[in-house]
């Protein structure tokens, strides 16, 4: 606001300008807004130029569990990147725009974070007067990788894991009034560690991209009742029984006098209303349910109210669910993926969720939505979210727009140095494609991987769009395959498990998945007792000048084309094979590589900056429609 004010005034008179510039210079000491700008000269998306420290990521970050009272802490923070051996800095090096990671342009830093570095963040905040009788929960949507939190100099807590939300009740650490200080320190081993990190790699090349370190999703606070509040809710739709089961879970174990009022509504009309106990599974009937599907992504609103022994409302949360079922059925003698008791071919894009300006963090909610919209418009009904877990709002948009999601677990594997050096030619820790024997993971690393895997499943359990979990991809860090596949299935029996996409296959899980990047699309065996899919194919490279991340690096695809026509012909030829394999060989799903170019991998449907759509949308939609004809 101050910025705008100054700018307007500046136009009025030179004298005033002089005065105000002086004032603004003084203000600089306390107002950071003036000295933030995107760093570096790399290509950016159109949304990047609208980003300001005041409007950055203002959307509610937890749309499936929404509480009214909250404060967004995104914006300009102070930061320093020091060695891990150094103590907390007294003076910070500069300003960073949270929630963009240190390496990104939009953070204003575009720095490098090595394995022996520690990022320090600092900001002041205030607690509104009307939160005095409440407890304050501090939420981090995602910090890569290990974060330590201090409030007013006191250690609040520690968290490992780049992709999952974590929260602390900071009430005991708060000053009675006035300014509060938040300090966050982060270390991130990136590709030198075995922690789940997906495609982040140092140095980046080919299919491996710039690492992401530090805060990369929204930081925020919310106010809850000191007595108790709703901690989470677990929902399972059952379309056969026309019901939704709901387990509202509380922050405290409470006497049974505490009740939860659940109100289900559809398009604003209440369709079910009941009072259910907390921490117990209750089944709410949904008569004549409107099923969720890509064609008709109907969502039901669920309002949960926590009522104490005295009958007072002490918490209210807004949620939603979709009535849908995903399972394996028999179709034309093949095991096949069914949605809502019907065979439905799933045609998706391999979606990495990477941005030239924000890396892991889309420049804005609108930008994030755009990728999903284009995918939908091109006639895909599924997205394979590839070895990355997105902000919750991404799943919310898929839930609303009707995209099915295959959710990969981000891979965890070390890049093995050659003669002590990490080079482009270094190999990641992986198992052979065929007949690979599992890696032997150290128990602590395995415990961490499995903990993060479980967090992914638990946090997104209620999202109707997610239909498949993919714990391993192409052998990267693959270990204990059968046990992990069985574990995922037991954690979530309501979805399908694709144990090892495209690689080292074991007879476990629900899906047999091969990857084929040849012009002749390979046909997966269909008699494995599982549904057969092409978890990746395509990868058609088409570099477009002016839209390249680095025109000097190797701009690469699994095959490279130099005109729209050649590209389309190659796509058509492979797509026709997909249709044939689907029609005659029982193929359940196929995933085209990929949604956008990412850094030097130029095989996107769109360029990395989302400025050029390489495949005509309408033509694609029309072509793809044959997959879904009954």
């Amino acid at each position: 606001m101050k910025n705008t004010f100054f700018v307007k005034k500046q136009r009025k008179s030179i004298l005033k300008l002089f005065l105000i510039v002086s004032i603004s210079f003084l203000f600089n000491q306390v107002t950071f807004s003036q000295n933030w700008k995107p760093a570096g000269e790399k290509i950016k998306t159109r949304w990047a130029k609208n980003v300001t420290p005041d409007n950055v990521w203002q959307e509610y970050p937890r749309p499936q569990f929404e509480r009214a009272e909250w404060i967004n802490l995104n914006g300009l923070w102070e930061y320093s990147v020091l060695k891990t051996s150094q103590a907390q800095p007294k003076k910070f090096q500069g300003k960073i725009l949270v929630p963009f990671c240190v390496e990104s342009s939009l953070s204003g830093v575009m720095g490098e974070v090595k394995g022996d570095d520690r990022i320090w963040y600092k900001r002041q905040f205030e607690i509104p007067a009307n939160w005095n009788q409440k407890n304050v929960i501090l939420n981090f949507e995602a910090v890569d990788y290990a974060a330590t939190i201090y409030v007013n100099g006191a250690l609040v807590g520690f968290h490992k894991g780049a992709y999952d939300r974590f929260s602390f009740d900071i009430t005991p650490y708060l000053n009675p009034k006035g300014s509060q200080e938040l300090i966050v320190s982060v270390v991130d081993p990136s590709s030198a560690g075995v922690q789940p990190r997906g495609k982040q790699q140092m140095p980046q090349e080919g299919i491996w991209y710039t690492p992401v370190s530090g805060i990369w999703q929204t930081v925020w606070m919310e106010a809850v009742s000191k007595e108790a509040f709703l901690r989470e809710v677990k929902m399972e739709p059952d379309i056969n029984k026309k019901a939704i089961s709901v387990i509202p879970m509380l922050s405290e174990p409470l006497r049974p006098e505490y009740k939860v009022k659940a109100v289900v509504s559809f398009k604003g009309n209440v369709v079910a209303q009941t009072v259910i106990p907390a921490d117990v599974k209750s089944v709410i009937e949904i008569s004549n349910p409107q099923l969720w599907s890509p064609d008709a992504p109907y969502l039901y609103d669920l309002n949960l109210t926590l009522i104490n022994a005295k009958g007072e409302v002490i918490d209210t949360v807004a949620s939603y669910f979709g009535m849908r079922k995903i399972n394996l059925g028999e179709f034309n003698g093949y095991k096949y993926i069914f949605l809502n008791n019907q065979p439905l071919f799933q045609y998706g894009t391999l979606d990495q969720g990477w941005w030239p300006d924000g890396l892991y963090t889309p420049p804005s909610d609108e930008a994030m939505k755009y990728d999903i919209e284009i995918t939908k418009k091109m006639g895909f009904n599924m997205i394979r979210k590839h070895v990355k877990i997105e902000p919750d709002r991404w799943y919310y948009h898929c839930d609303k727009m009707g995209l099915m999601v295959w959710q990969d677990m981000p891979s965890g594997m070390v890049v093995i140095p050659e003669n002590g050096q990490i080079k482009a030619s270094s190999r990641v820790q992986k198992v052979p494609r065929i007949g690979g024997t599992d890696l032997n993971q150290r128990s602590e690393d395995a415990a961490q991987f499995e903990s993060e895997l479980r967090r992914m499943i638990d946090i997104h359990y209620n999202s109707p769009s997610i239909v498949v979990w993919v714990p391993f991809n192409e052998g990267w860090g693959q270990y204990a395959t059968r046990r992990i596949a069985n574990m995922v299935k037991e954690l979530d029996p309501t979805r399908l498990v694709n144990a090892a996409s495209g690689w080292a296959d074991y007879p476990c899980g629900d899906i047999y998945d091969i990857h084929s990047y040849s012009a002749k699309v390979l046909i997966p065996q269909t008699s494995s007792g599982r549904a057969s899919v092409l978890g990746e194919y395509g990868g058609l490279g088409y570099p477009i000048d002016g839209h390249l991340w680095d025109s000097k690096m190797r701009n690469w695809g699994y095959g490279t084309y130099h005109s729209e026509k050649d590209l389309m012909n190659a796509y058509k030829s492979q797509f026709e094979q997909i249709v044939d394999i689907k029609n005659t060989k029982g193929l359940s799903a196929a995933v085209f590589t990929q949604t956008t170019d990412v850094e030097g991998e130029v095989n996107g449907l769109m360029t990395y900056d989302r400025e050029v759509i390489k495949f005509p949308i309408e033509k694609m939609k029309e072509m793809h429609s044959v997959l879904f004809k009954k």
């Binding site: 074991y506 007879p507 060989k585």
Partner: protein, 501 residues
Amino acid sequence: MKYLPIVLFHLILGCSTLFAQESKSKKTNILIFLVDDLKPTLGVYGDKTAQSPNIDKLAAKGMLFTNAYCNQAVCGPSRINLLLGSRSTSTGLYKFGKEFRDDFPNAVTLPQYFKNAGYQVESMGKVFHIGHGTTDDEASWSIPHFKEKVIEYILPESTNRKLTREEAFFENTYLYFNDLPSNSKLPRGAAWEAPNVLDEAYADGRVARHAIDRLRELKKNPSHPFFMAVGFARPHLPFSVPKKYWDLYDPKNIPMPSYVDEPEGAPKIAIKRGGEIDQFNPIPTDQDIYTDTLTRKLIHGYYASMSYMDAQLGRVMEELERLKMLENTIIVLWGDHGWHLGDHGIWTKHTNFEQATHIPLLFVAPGLIKPGTSSTQLAETVDIYPTLAELVGLPRPTGPQPIDGTSLFPVLKNSKAQVRNHAYHSYPRGGYLGEAIRTQQYRMVRWTHMKDSSIKPIYELYDYQYDYDETKNLSAHYPEKVKELETILNQYPKAKLTPRN
């Protein structure tokens, strides 16, 4: 001891007629093992998984050829290459279904050549390819061939007691029954079975038994040399072998293919999909990539079948030793072609790739070949005929069919000797004939359209020093190398381009 001075004398002179000389007092016999679909997945070839104690033991007595290639990677033609001494490119016999005597009525086959030289010539098991419309060659043998089954099952559930597709082919059922449904209408038999039975429950066990019986008979007439061809059917599909041979291998330790994609830049015609393997249950039809479970099972079956065959070969060898015939018997082990065990996503044979064409070949000749030696000489199937002739002091065969081979005799005497710097093989596919020149480092394949000479040839080039798995066709990158190898190919008479069928 009686022959020691003679042996020394000949070694000093380096004389090539040792066996001929010797045969005057004690005849030199020839025992040749023809093994169906056997690739060099053998202990002696450095395969750490393979359990092949008997072949390993046999190799220790003689010379192993590490760079031996078939002339065409399919049973029928490959056996004609061996038995006529002619490459398919010289005869035009690329396919099944026609007798070679239709084109070469007066051909003198390898066994026939020895028969004409006074040998008792016998055969048992799979020697000539019998089946798919071709029959045995009676003129080749002194007594009728002892035929055994190739497709064989013991478990009723393997066939549901029905005539299966492959059995109908191999038993030439179509020659005798006109009213059979077309082959694709017949049911598929199992790709493998593993019953708990004795070795002689299957053909190779009975072939070994027959060989043993015949050796005992032939022993009775030591002055009459013999030429015995023993053909084993396994590891040809189906992998029907007793359970104990499966149990030799832990499925966990079965080696899996390291590269399962098509070579980058390979022409479509070079790639084989389906065919043969999917004529068996439960192999999926027209599907390219099998699950690891199925892949592992098939490779396990191949190894189990090889070990079963190895045991049968061992029985024959033990009897030969017991009969004290080792010292005057030349022994040859030959695989008719290699086998794709899922490499490049390909199964069985029928290609020009390394795995389909690289064959096991070894010679044992006591007194001449230094035991436990090996040679890197590029050898071909067609070389065996002139080599065996020279080994026993017979003149080089002259046909009338084309005799294409080079005698490996100088190499057998001196493993460092080299008689040729390449091997030449071929395979027809999709209207093209692919002719290959394999050198120590490279293989160049030229695919020529068989009918339309206006269509430009297609080339492949693989570098085995740096890319043994054939992941990349380098022909576009090294045109000079292609040209150099094509010059070698052009030195041969033009290949017969019209397959006679």
